[in-house]
């Protein structure tokens, strides 16, 4: 990096606002993916949008690549500085600026941790539903850049549905506000939504106006296990056809069921093929009523091996914790895990799962299936070892076939993780060539020098 540029960048943030030792740079060379790593030349911690703007002006003048990073919990390679240059870390811009209870929005800086936002809102009886499972550490900025979602998507949608406005610092340092504080806003193209999910390639988001909703007063968890995963899929459809939209419907396969019973036994028959977890929320009476309906639908299934409504909140908590621990177990069973993120229309989920089982047999691999059955978003995890070349190549082929299956079934290659580096080579399969051209043209307008998160998406 140009010495003048470096000096000017350091001046912008002051002596406690940057890192440049070898160990520090290495600590910003990765994200939550397994096999990507690239070391930046400097890590900057701006504390406000003015500093972000100053940084971008220098980067623009000297054509220095800028990779924006929140907590770096993303699983796409998106925050890895593959072109070196600057890592612009937003974690010190972490103030909650304004809460408007009447207008139901909260104005926060990009570095606010999601869990802190949840806790803050909870005190006011409010709720920001997007719930990527990295919420303990993930930041609002990352959530916006990846358009993150989670189990709540079936009922509440994903980040874009809660984004009213952002402050964006453009590649040349100009500060602009897109969107605003209102639910309705059709003044021109919706650039706020365009930046959402753009993986840090169009602008730096420094703060955002997020829509919030009242916190549901009551919750109920139902757990149902089945002999056959196809029957579990059928139950999901029946629940939806009944006019019920649960807050979450989570699906786990036999591998996870066994791990749950190993580590946090909750009395699941270990030969069950699939497990469904429903969470219903809303007003107490209506939740009790719908819970009973879901219970009855499950009960009719010939394939049922276990059915239970969690009696207390702590019972429910125990079940959800067991699910989390079961999922985590995947990562202790293999040196490398390719945790994928495909999505199909909800109804076609059983077909997709069958397809994955075929692929797993064909390539002789363990592929654990867990997912958000409620919204058709599946996370097949391929257990492998990056140091075992032959095995790893087989795993990658399997992943490619899984992507093909998702596309054939009318879905796509990423539901909520983003493209980043991981899925770059598959994007042209998912999008028409003209579509890709339009994307690149948009990028060109926003970032003519190509300094914002270069090397990502395509």
């Amino acid at each position: 990096m140009d010495a003048t540029a470096l000096k000017r960048l350091k001046n912008v943030v002051g002596k406690n606002g940057y890192l440049d030792s070898t160990a520090d740079l290495l600590s910003y060379s990765y994200d939550a993916t397994t096999d990507w790593q690239a070391v930046p030349e400097i890590v900057l911690f701006p504390e406000n949008r003015r500093q972000v703007s100053e940084i971008m002006k220098i980067a623009f003048d000297f054509e220095i690549p800028v990779t924006i990073r929140g907590a770096g919990t993303n699983v796409s390679g998106g925050s890895i500085p593959v072109s070196g240059g600057i890592v612009l870390c937003t974690t010190r811009m972490n103030r909650i600026l304004e809460l408007s209870k009447e207008n139901l929005y909260v104005h926060v800086e990009a570095g606010v941790v999601l869990n802190d936002l949840y806790e803050f809102l909870k005190k006011h009886g409010l709720f920001f539903p997007p719930d990527p499972q990295s919420f303990l550490a993930a930041t609002v900025g990352g959530c916006i850049s990846e358009n993150a979602g989670g189990p709540y998507a079936i009922k509440y949608g994903v980040t874009k549905h809660y984004l009213l406005g952002i402050t964006a610092v453009l590649a040349d340092g100009k500060i602009l506000e897109f969107g605003g504080r209102t639910l309705k806003n059709v003044a021109g193209y919706d650039l706020c939504q365009l930046v959402c999910g753009s993986e840090g390639t169009l602008a730096v988001v420094t703060d955002a106006i997020l829509r919030v909703i009242p916190l549901p007063e009551y919750k109920k968890t139902i757990i149902a296990a089945f002999k056959d995963i196809i029957d579990a899929g059928e139950i999901v459809s029946q629940v939806i056809l009944e006019g019920i939209i649960p807050a979450k419907i989570e699906l786990m396969d036999n591998w996870i069921i066994r791990r749950i019973e190993e580590f946090n036994p909750i009395g699941l028959p270990v030969d069950s093929d699939a497990l469904l977890l429903f969470e219903l929320d809303g007003e107490r009476d209506s939740v009790e009523k719908t819970a009973q309906k879901v219970f009855d639908i499950c009960k009719k299934s010939q394939s049922l091996t276990k059915l239970e409504i969690a009696e207390s909140e702590s019972d429910a908590e125990k079940i959800w914790n067991a699910r989390r621990a079961g999922f985590s177990a995947i990562f202790s069973y293999a040196p490398t895990v390719l945790a994928e993120d495909i999505v199909v229309p909800r109804k076609r989920l059983p077909e997709l799962i069958l397809k994955i089982r075929e692929i797993s047999e064909k390539y002789d691999l363990t592929i654990v299936v867990i997912g958000h059955a409620g919204d058709g978003n599946l996370h097949p995890s391929v257990l492998t070892d990056i140091k075992n070349r032959e095995h790893y190549e087989r795993a990658q082929k399997a992943v490619e076939e899984i992507f093909n299956s998702a596309l054939e079934l009318g879905g796509t290659i990423s539901g909520e993780h983003g493209i980043g580096l991981e899925k770059r080579r598959f994007l042209k399969k998912a999008l028409h060539s003209k579509h890709l051209e339009l994307l690149k043209a948009v990028k060109e307008v926003f970032d003519p020098k190509g300094i914002l998160n270069p090397g990502k998406i395509w």
Partner: protein, 406 residues
């Protein structure tokens, strides 16, 4: 279960949601995820500049809280200490560290003599000041950034040597550790008397050294093992070992892991480790009930990391405190957040330490408690200093000081 190393870290970043150090400076090099990555890289021989690597290894307060949220159950503390150890093996220790660890802590008699000598220097020791206050008073003695706890004579050994049990029953050993020997001997004495007054045949065995944990943490496993071995040989005769210091408890319980399978003292170390109990843990298990001279006061409790995060001891001190009639117990916010001392960390990383101290004092202040109880002399020092720094009308007590029998 196979040994889980740094390579099993899946980089999810959950540790970043609880790490006290990261929550202050937001630098990823200072949290388990970053450190594990560096340790991996080092293991692969890819990181030449030792200075920044070493700095990262020692930029951890070792509270162990990250392990409580880790989905992959990575033993971060153990991994960090192993890495420090292998760095020390390669590069050796600094001269001052060598003197402290290999001479002073290993030769207890010499240390006591030296400290007695030092204590004649005006301002370094105080005989008549009320308990605790003098420690806080002396914090700003030299220069503001580093607090030096005062020595308090007579040391514990002299205070209770006259209390040797009639015949050596070798039933229960009291392990006071360095702080209760030299800095808070009056608290050591109090613990000892409390246990005696419960009718227990407790002794303070001759010849005990430092628990060795500070040495182990610094990466000098070799010396730590030598220290441990001396203690093990003395303690193995006893049926039960009680400590009043959370860190010593953790150290002694950890002995079993300091020795390799092939080591001839492995089983002896395992035996000793299995017999160690923290004071409140012992009292709660035995269902003793207490009165207190502080009856009627509002009391809060700070969880030492070595109790809550290293050994999951959380309910026990609360059970003991709530056995006292007319004590109003109020839980503070973030009661289990590190006080910020972390042994040498509090001196080497003063700014982070002071910020954590500030947060802790704020939590204490919110409760309105006049008494904050804890069970670790390190935490007592740090909190006492904080109380002084922010002029709180609060007193810090070791749990033994709160309790009276009958």
């Amino acid at each position: 279960m196979v040994k889980r190393g740094a390579e099993t870290c899946m980089k999810c970043g959950f540790c970043m949601s609880v790490c006290p150090v990261y929550l202050v400076d937001h630098v990823e090099t200072h949290v388990a995820r970053g450190r594990n990555m560096l340790i991996n890289t080092w293991a692969e021989g890819l990181i030449p500049p030792i200075v920044s690597y070493k700095e990262a290894l020692y930029f951890c307060i070792l509270c162990g809280r990250c392990e409580s949220v880790c989905p992959a159950k990575v033993p971060n503390v153990e991994i960090t200490l192993e890495a420090r150890n292998s760095l020390v093996k390669r590069r050796g220790l600094g001269l001052i560290q060598q003197i402290i660890y290999q001479l002073l802590l290993y030769k207890r008699g010499f240390l006591a003599g030296l400290l007695r000598l030092i204590s004649h220097v005006p301002g370094l020791s105080q005989k008549d000041a009320p308990p605790l206050r003098h420690i806080a008073d002396s914090f700003f003695l030299f220069s503001k950034p580093i607090s030096i706890p005062k020595l308090r004579k007579p040391f514990l050994r002299e205070r209770i040597s006259s209390l040797k049990s009639k015949e050596q029953s070798k039933e229960i050993a009291f392990f006071p550790g360095c702080a209760f020997e030299f800095i808070y001997p009056e608290v050591g004495e109090k613990i000892f008397h409390l246990l005696r007054s419960l009718g227990l045949n407790i002794e303070y065995p001759e010849g005990l050294l430092c628990c060795g944990y500070p040495v182990y943490c610094a990466g000098d496993k070799n010396t730590a093992k030598k220290i441990a071995l001396r203690n093990i040989k003395i303690l193995s005769d006893y049926k039960l070992i009680i400590t009043g210091c959370a860190t010593c408890m953790s150290g002694l319980r950890g002995y079993k892991d300091w020795f390799e399978e092939t080591d001839e003292y492995k089983s002896l170390a395992e035996d000793v480790s299995s017999k160690v109990m923290a004071l409140s843990e012992f009292l709660a298990n035995e269902n003793f009930t207490f009165s207190s001279e502080y009856s009627g006061s509002i009391v809060t409790y700070h969880d030492p990391c070595h109790m809550k995060w290293h050994h999951a001891i959380y309910d026990e001190p609360r059970k003991v405190i709530s056995s006292i009639s007319r004590i109003k117990f109020i839980e503070m916010k973030d009661e289990d957040m590190c006080c910020g001392l972390g042994g040498a960390f509090g001196i080497t990383h003063r700014n982070i330490s002071l910020e954590l101290q500030r947060k802790k004092i704020e939590s204490i202040k919110e409760t309105g408690a006049r008494i904050v109880v804890t069970e670790c002399p390190g935490c007592m020092l740090q909190i006492a200093e904080g109380i002084k720094r922010f002029s709180l009308p609060t007193q810090v007590l070791h749990i033994a000081e709160l309790l009276m029998t009958g």
